[in-house]
């Protein structure tokens, strides 16, 4: 049974007790990184204090405990995603970016040929763009983009045309700039009709929306731990075990081998093949605790909470600032995530963020690693506020007061 109360969540997060410039912290940057609850911090602490040993090697008790803890995290992640094939398709990476590099440089390099196409969208994070351009330096692939329309949604008018020759459709479940939630299930089905595989960047969605891989029917899902209340230093690459078994190794070294001789090596099978070197054990333990914590809250509740805060914030911004503060993203009525990018005519996002910092309000100015999207809307940067399950309407109050101060200050 899940139970959700944002005030209780807030009390679970030590970082939210900080006082910044004389003000209690107003953390509105969960889109960049979320704040871990005590359960995550304590699980990692307990691991290092009592159980730490290297995994998969020792025969002694704590080594077994460490291995169980690491592999337990893999199963927990698979359960959280309702992954077909369970933990067999879960590879732990450093972060979501590394997961995309694994996708492009292992699956892509082995499966794409000159003339094949990869279809992305204009609202992708650089993590789902640059590895494809890097692959293009070796294989002559065509990297295409689904355009974004003026309502900040994917323009699917020419989707079938764009899908010609596409071997992989790789897109975000939720834009880290716009808050747009893409119709993944529908696009996965359409992508499969064209014979392509479908990869989903779930960095923004997995900690904010319910995720059911069996229902979505996608082929790859990639995300990081630290945007879902977990620690930094761990990400997830998931694919169907049958696809994983056909992928060549990515990083080489210890742990990923079946045999090493003086004349060559044989890689291990399954996820082990992709986890070279000592893995991020404590981080996996932390991610496991984050998964349990989110399951306790209920992902439908987390999404509903984001929605309520977002609808309230957008309508108050529109009402209070009379169009002076423009929201770069879908309206409050759309099914969107809790990411609100704003643009104020005459006040640069960096200056907005600086004024907000004065009262302890944390937002992110910049291009949010989505330069093609910024260019699409003729912007160099936005200031972005993003919610987490610990956000309260008081955070929006502080944001609005800060925006008013920025406008007054810069005129």
């Amino acid at each position: 049974m899940s139970y959700f109360n944002a005030v209780r969540v807030r009390a679970d997060v030590p970082a939210l007790t900080r006082v910044i410039n004389g003000h209690p912290i107003t953390y509105l940057d969960s889109g960049a990184s979320s704040l871990p609850p005590r359960a995550v911090i304590e699980a990692m602490d307990e691991y290092y204090r009592l159980r730490h040993a290297n995994v998969h090697r020792g025969v002694y008790q704590t080594a077994n405990e460490a291995t169980d803890a690491y592999e337990g995290a893999r199963s927990a992640v698979a359960g959280f995603l309702n992954a077909p094939g369970g933990g067999e398709g879960v590879v732990f990476t450093k972060n979501c970016t590394e997961a995309f590099n694994l996708l492009a440089k292992s699956w892509g390099a082995a499966n794409l040929r000159d003339g094949d196409a990869v279809l992305l969208t204009e609202m992708e994070h650089h993590a789902n763009i640059v590895p494809w351009f890097q692959l293009r330096e070796h294989i002559n692939i065509d990297v295409r983009f689904i355009p974004v329309n003026d309502d900040f949604e994917l323009d699917l008018t020419n989707f079938d045309e764009l899908m010609k020759g596409v071997k992989l459709l790789s897109l975000t479940a939720m834009s880290n700039v716009l808050g747009t939630i893409n119709p993944i299930k529908e696009l996965a089905a359409r992508g499969h009709q064209h014979g392509a595989l479908v990869a989903v960047d779930a960095a923004q969605s997995v900690g904010h929306l319910p995720t059911d891989l069996q229902d979505l029917d996608v082929d790859f899902m990639l995300f990081s731990g630290h945007k879902m209340l977990g620690p930094t230093g761990i990400g997830v690459f998931w694919t169907r075990p049958e696809i994983l078994n056909g992928m060549p190794p990515f990083l080489g070294g210890g742990g990923m081998i079946a045999d090493v001789r003086t004349d060559g090596y044989t890689p291990a099978t399954g996820f082990t093949r992709f986890e070279a070197g000592t893995p991020m054990i404590a981080e996996a333990v932390g991610l496991h605790a984050a998964v349990r914590y989110l399951e306790g809250l209920g992902m439908a509740n987390v999404h509903q909470h984001d929605r309520e805060l977002t609808i309230d914030a957008i309508s108050r911004i529109n009402h209070q600032f009379n169009g002076r503060v423009k929201i770069i993203g879908p309206t409050a009525h759309a099914n969107r995530g809790g990411v609100i990018s704003i643009d104020i005519d005459g006040v640069h996002p960096h200056d907005i963020a600086q004024v907000l910092d004065e009262s302890g309000v944390c937002v992110r100015p910049g291009h949010h690693c989505a330069k093609p999207l910024m260019k699409r809307f003729g912007l160099a940067a936005t200031a972005r506020a993003s919610f987490g399950p610990y956000s309260l309407v008081e955070d929006t109050d502080a944001l609005l007061e800060g925006l008013q101060r920025a406008i007054t200050f810069f005129g």
Binding site: H348, P349, H350, D351, F409, F410
Partner: protein, 151 residues
């Protein structure tokens, strides 16, 4: 004075709202582009050097108040100056940006002299207290420095 007022001195806000020497110069003026990849700020500095003197300078681009004001103040400070004088201002400015704002002893006559010699540019001294914003203030100067090398 609050931290914010120290950062955004009136002179900075004035140069942000009404930037001086905005625009482009045709060749043979040199054209140098500067980027701040982390925040997306972009500047282009056009430099017309005749007989070792900056006869004209124009700047285009976009960015935050600090980067825009700094480029505007820079253009005023170096226009009509010899290249040697420009290099001296450049080095003094960069030194000012590396001084920790709150440890600069303004009672020290040497520091006072440096700041006084920088004139209006000294208004940017408050930026040094905000490490993240130093790159905003130095973007125009780094671009200028690159332009001078190419000249």
């Amino acid at each position: 004075m609050s931290n914010l007022e120290e950062l955004y001195k009136e002179i900075i806000l004035d140069h942000y709202r009404t930037p001086r020497n905005r625009g482009e110069l045709p060749p043979p003026a040199s054209k140098t582009e500067g980027f701040n990849p982390l925040c997306g700020d972009e500047l282009t500095v056009y430099l017309d050097v005749k007989d070792g003197v900056v006869a004209d300078i124009k700047i285009t681009g976009h960015g935050c108040s600090i980067s825009q004001a700094s480029s505007s103040l820079m253009s005023v400070a170096i226009k009509g100056k010899t290249l040697d004088e420009v290099r001296e201002v450049l080095s003094k400015f960069k030194n000012m940006m590396t001084l920790e704002g709150d440890v600069v002893d303004l009672n020290d006559p040497a520091n006072r002299d440096v700041l006084r010699s920088l004139g209006e540019l000294a208004a940017l001294q408050g930026v040094a207290k905000f490490p993240v914003r130093i790159k905003c203030a130095t973007l125009a100067w780094n671009t200028l420095s690159q332009g001078l090398e190419e000249n």
